[in-house]
Subunit: 182 residues, 2 copies
DNA sequence: GACTTTATATATCGAATTGATACAATGCAT
DNA sequence: ATGCATTGTATCAATTCGATATATAAAGTC
């Protein structure tokens, strides 16, 4: 399940350009599987080379050609093989947690600011999920509804944990920092 | 807050080799910020070059030299600057969710197997956190305790969500798949 | 009318990261 | 005695990230 495979999956919904796929990565997958142009265009080129997608170049006046990709039979085959993975990964890379692990080297004010910004970010992402969900003209497939709910559940748990535990870094625990800071 | 900065932070606890840091990345940071040798050794080389760490090579009979790194005053300075970031990121890259988004292209059996393996993985990680937490000879700093609790809260929320929503992919919703699969 | 932002659309580039592998010796267990 | 885990170094190809470049049109703003 790399960028290539997700692109294939997106193309099962219909033909699309690299630009279209980028928008899909931002909206449907933004909260769980981001990808930029630097991943998408090489992925499409590789898929085209291996015959998993076909590409039609549509000339446009002035603008560069619009390249529209379609999934092929071989693409379907590869996609279904990839979807057979029984134990796909779920990874977190958190500069937030890495920084918090060194909270004893920060001032209490710095720590509280970081916690505030994490809550704000969670709220932003929650609003984003709500907007996206209600933006569907038709109804989203089961799996997409599942991932949206998953994202919401995680964000709520994150907010709750931060709010219930930010006291760890104030008052009585203050001397810990003073004792440790070199 | 990249691998270099986390290495610097780890070195505030005392001198260490690349191998030692790898173990720290696996234990304390395994659930939130992983790094392998391919990141750690280049990071240490770069930190040494920029004078943020000093390196002492200790010859060993037969084995290759053991290179022990220590944080310098400049290293402390850089670290404290990095810790001043008020809005560090928290990113998820989930092949699990990406795959689930295409659940309508999988068989119900495949979907349930994926959900089972996700729960098993969460349980493994919960056990790992418990073991790590109780393994501390002395007590962990506040920040580390915070990140461990954070990880636990996320994993519990994940398990709960999966268990409460796996019904989405069975019985009544079954025809959705039949209708969509090409 | 001039100016700026936003959207459409392509693509590349260096830097960072991943995941696997190689090499080399010791010690421990079966 | 033979294989496996541990200690320790390090590299490599493939992938991904984040920023940037190019070009045009529409739409909003001063």
């Amino acid at each position: 399940m790399d960028v290539k495979t997700v692109c294939l999956g997106m193309l099962t919904e219909g033909e699309a350009s690299g630009y279209d796929l980028k928008k899909a990565f931002e909206s449907s997958f933004g909260h769980c599987f981001a990808a930029g142009y630097g991943s998408i265009y090489p992925a499409l080129a590789s898929l085209a080379e291996s015959g998993c997608v076909s590409c039609e170049e549509i000339a446009q006046d002035g603008k560069p050609d619009r390249k529209v990709y379609r999934i092929t039979d071989k693409g379907w085959e590869i996609l279904l093989e990839e979807l057979d993975n029984p134990a796909p990964s779920h990874k977190v890379r958190s500069e937030f947690l890495a920084q918090m692990a060194f909270a004893h080297l920060m001032t209490p004010e710095q720590v509280q600011e970081v916690l505030n910004s994490r809550i704000e970010d969670a709220d932003r992402n929650l609003r984003f999920i709500d907007e996206f969900e209600s933006s569907g003209d038709c109804e989203w497939p089961v799996g997409v509804r599942f991932t949206l709910g998953f994202g919401r559940a995680m964000l709520h748990a994150m907010k709750a944990y931060v709010e219930e535990n930010r006291h760890m870094f104030t008052s009585s625990d203050r001397q810990t920092r003073k004792a440790v800071a070199r």
